[in-house]
Amino acid sequence: MVDKTVLARQFIEAIPHARALNLTLTHIGEGEAEITLPYNEDLIGDPRTGVIHGGAISTILDTCCGAAVMSHPSAPGGTATIDLRIDYMRAATPGQTITARATCYHITRNVAFVRATAVDIDKDLPVATAAGSFTVEGN
């Protein structure tokens, strides 16, 4: 059997914008996903501090949530974001890799519900959390 993790990693890493951000899928399966975003000066949102822009955090959280939905045993295929809310707890520390972890905690025939958290090296203090609903496609 082909390793589902390898397939999923190739799929996520083939997304042009995921490549532009150097996103790496580090874990996937059973409605859960983990993706990392390495620090990159092109993503700075405030040139005075070097802190990564919230938009890049939104992108890794959105990608991670989508991957979690697709990996759910009840998800037949693709997905698209219906809505996503992001709460920003603190600025990400400049120079550190961001890790997003998402869980698809409920899925129906039409909708998947997902929660996600983004952290840097300090895993106990989230940088941002997300909650969203996604379409379930390919029935």
Partner: protein
Amino acid sequence: MARPRPEPVQVVKQRRDAALRALVDGVPYIRFLDISFDRRGDELTGVLNFDDKLIGNPFLPAIHGGVTAAFLEVTAVITLSWEHMFPRIESGEIDGETIVTDKSIRFPKTIDFTVDYLRSGLPRDAYARAFISRSGRRYASVRVEAWQDNHAKLFAQASGHFLMPQPPKDKS
């Protein structure tokens, strides 16, 4: 008493456009996504200049949902900053030179941001406009709309809350 003559139009335009350009071009992430801003009076329109690297779904193809969220957030933050800094730009207190280097000038910080995805983002330019619902001393509430070919058919909308930069505390 006669009122002073208004400033020549070139002077006004030059001052405002230089400040806006410096504000936008000073942020690496805005350059990375290639977002620019059109100004008509005090009204700003964000323009997301399409590029293949913005694609999130290569099969449709469609713009990445994260890019859409980022575009809306950038438009909200720039519109809010512009509104907040405008009196100081007009008085000449801050200009294109100081706007991204002066440590005392800070951007509003996003507290939360919620995006509704109404249609998939087509592989072409997108536009966005932010409306400040309320801007208080500490918090601001902003709504943003984004469209592509037809302004009446939004492809995304968002609303968010922001923490406004606080004036430095008087130590006396």
